[in-house]
């Protein structure tokens, strides 16, 4: 089974992300990591190829630093990594991102399954894989909590309000997973060292030829962006005896209209 996994590089520390004047984000101070739930998507892909044979390719659009993320993926079982890096893609919103990713999936070709995370740790729209599926005219199942694979179909479990659904989907398809689908493995020392030697293919818009890209192709316009208010420190309830502490606590709860 040939599987493509979409992986996004996200900041490790959202608090260190700066808001630019034009409402874009300055991530330079934040450090980077592989989007946590994308680890689950990759683990699902590696497990499927361990059962059924095949190959896992990871694909990421982002700045030159995405190579570090691809390396991390190779250390836990991806066979191949492709970076989509082009200045022209800067400022892409979900739709602009999805168009580039869909073009890359078509360009690379021949995948039985596209796996992705349910949503990113930073943008968090959960829209990108959905749009990729539509652009490629493929069936999709989102937010999957369990996966059983066969050569030509997958059985996916989704959690619904008050129950579960099992959905069978014919391949090729796009499937997004949530963090309950599996426990990602740690890299072994050997695989980690081997990943240091891995080289990655790179795609730019020269190969993909997406007509409108980046900020210009982004239909959404961010009108304003603000940080959530800083959390207020908690209040300490004190007293000389346990009974007094309890009394003071009740008084504080009454004053705050909790009781």
């Amino acid at each position: 089974m040939k599987i493509l996994v979409l992986v996004k590089q996200v900041p490790t520390d959202l608090g260190a992300v700066k808001l630019n004047e034009d409402h874009t984000l300055d991530r330079t101070a934040a450090g980077v990591q592989l989007n946590p739930v994308d680890k689950n998507a990759l683990e699902a892909a590696v497990q499927l190829t361990e059962q059924l044979g095949g190959e896992v390719t990871v694909l990421s659009m982002g700045p030159a630093t995405v190579k570090a993320t691809l390396k991390e993926c190779v250390a836990v079982g991806a066979h191949r990594g492709v970076a989509i890096t082009d200045e022209a893609f800067a400022g892409s919103d979900a739709w602009a991102t999805a168009r580039v990713l869909a073009a890359a999936v078509r360009h690379l070709g021949g995948f039985d399954l596209v796996l992705a995370g349910k949503q990113s740790f930073d943008g968090g729209t959960g829209e990108v894989p959905v749009m990729v599926a539509e652009l490629l005219d493929l069936p999709q199942v989102t937010g999957v909590t369990a996966l059983e694979g066969a050569a030509d179909a997958l059985v996916c479990t989704q959690v619904l309000d008050g129950g579960q659904a099992k959905v069978q989907v014919a391949l090729p398809a796009v499937v997004t997973v949530d963090e309950y689908v599996n426990t990602p493995r740690y890299p072994s020392v050997k695989s980690k060292l081997a990943a240091n030697k891995a080289s990655f293919d790179q795609l730019t818009n020269a190969e993909l030829a997406v007509p409108e890209v980046g900020l210009a192709a982004s239909g959404t316009t961010i009108l304003s962006a603000t940080r959530p208010p800083a959390r207020q420190p908690g209040a300490r309830v004190e007293g000389d005896t346990p009974a007094q502490v309890a009394e003071n606590l009740v008084a504080a709860l009454v004053a705050a209209h909790v009781l």
Partner: protein, 386 residues
């Protein structure tokens, strides 16, 4: 930070750090209390290959040099000495077989631990500790086999290993020259073990008697020639002492980390206690000893990577680092005051764990003897370099 790390080393250390703090550290207090670890406790370490880091790739290991392996084990020691010791004892036993045995024997041992198993180095007996040559376990040749009889004591990983490197007398009448080394699989008929020792510290490391009663092993399990066992064991100990010291550096770093953080938060006389110069002196000594220990271990590892046998240097490292470890962990308790003395805080465990390192792998008195003997020999030939 006293050492210069390559990008590869930094990444490896970070990977191991993330794993060990997330997966292992939370379970340590309960294992320390119980004095044992759950059976699957080392599975993730096996998957990552931590029990075979420095073993060549041809035997299924990570193929790392000693310097890098030591850096990783300092990280493991920072979280728990016993956890790190369990893994070190495994590759030390295997390394003995690699150093002294044939490639087939190394493979025999490695194949048992590579997929997920522990190993042990089996020398000490109740009446043969520092005086290792006086051991009484016998291995008597019988056709194509040897038959082992005897009781070993204080064996790290004794009750949880898949395979042992065992020292026994093939010629009970001879002294050191009568000792030979054998590979013995733990599932051979006649192998049994005693109860896990209820220790003061290092309680996450399994220690017990291993008993051999008419245990038959094929003759190809003899490592090296008959009579070479004692020199094999001594060579193995030279090698393993520096690795124990790297675990000690990890424990020292942990003691320092805990003490500084505590001193910055604990208030007395209206200010954090780190503002008192006498507390600063405690911390400064701890930092100086930790950094000096790290440099010493690092240099010994470099000598080992360059192929030196480190007879003297391994003993110097073990003696000095384990002595400093006592001081550093005791000072950490001092910085914590009364809180340092109770199990609710992490530093009393460090002090308990520290003590064993002055005893095992040859007591520090024995290290002094080794260093003294090496000096005697060295100056006989060099005459002091004048």
């Amino acid at each position: 930070m006293a050492l210069i790390y390559t990008e590869e080393q930094t990444e490896l250390i970070e990977m191991v750090r993330e794993f060990v703090w997330k997966e292992i550290a939370p379970k340590i207090p309960e294992c320390d209390r119980a004095g044992e670890c759950p059976p699957d406790f080392f599975d993730s370490a096996f998957e990552m290959g931590l029990h075979m880091l420095e073993i060549p790739e041809e035997f299924g290991g990570g193929g790392l040099d000693f310097v890098t392996t030591a850096m990783v084990f300092e990280e493991l020691g920072r979280v728990d000495g016993g956890y790190a010791q369990t893994l070190v004892s495994t590759f030390v036993a295997l390394r003995n077989v690699i150093l002294a045995g044939t490639p087939e024997q190394a493979k025999m041992f490695a194949d048992l631990v590579a997929p997920g198993g522990l190993g042990a180095f089996v020398l000490t007996e109740a009446n043969s500790g520092s005086d290792a040559a006086s051991l009484r376990t016998t291995a008597i040749r019988d056709g194509d086999e040897y038959v082992l009889n005897g009781t070993k004591t204080w064996i790290t990983n004794g009750g949880i290993s898949k395979v042992y490197a065992v020292l026994a007398k093939t010629d009970p009448a001879a002294g050191t020259k009568g000792i030979s080394c054998f590979i013995v699989e733990a599932d051979r008929p006649g192998v049994s073990w005693g109860t896990h020792e209820d220790k003061m510290g290092l309680r996450t490391s399994n220690t017990c008697d291993v008993v051999f009663k008419d245990v038959r092993v094929p003759a190809d399990h003899l490592v090296g020639a008959e009579g070479e066992g004692f020199s094999i064991a001594m060579r193995g100990l030279n090698f393993s002492r520096a690795f124990m010291a790297t675990i000690c550096v990890g424990i020292m770093q942990r003691a320092l980390d805990e003490a500084v953080v505590y001193a910055k938060t604990r208030q007395q006389f209206g200010q954090p206690i780190i503002k008192f110069q006498l507390v600063q002196k405690l911390l400064a000594d701890m930092a100086a000893q930790t950094e000096a220990a790290r440099c010493l271990v690092h240099n010994t590892m470099r000598l080992m990577d360059a192929g030196h046998s480190v007879v003297k240097e391994g003993s110097i490292t073990k003696m000095l680092v384990t002595d400093m470890l006592q001081d550093v962990t005791s000072k950490a308790v001092q910085v914590f005051g009364g809180n340092g003395y109770v199990k609710e805080y992490p530093v009393e465990k460090l002090m308990r764990d520290a003590k064993i390192y002055q005893i095992m792998e040859g007591t520090n008195e024995i290290q002094a003897l080794v260093i003294g003997r090496a000096l005697d020999k060295e100056y006989e030939t060099s005459g002091g370099g004048r």
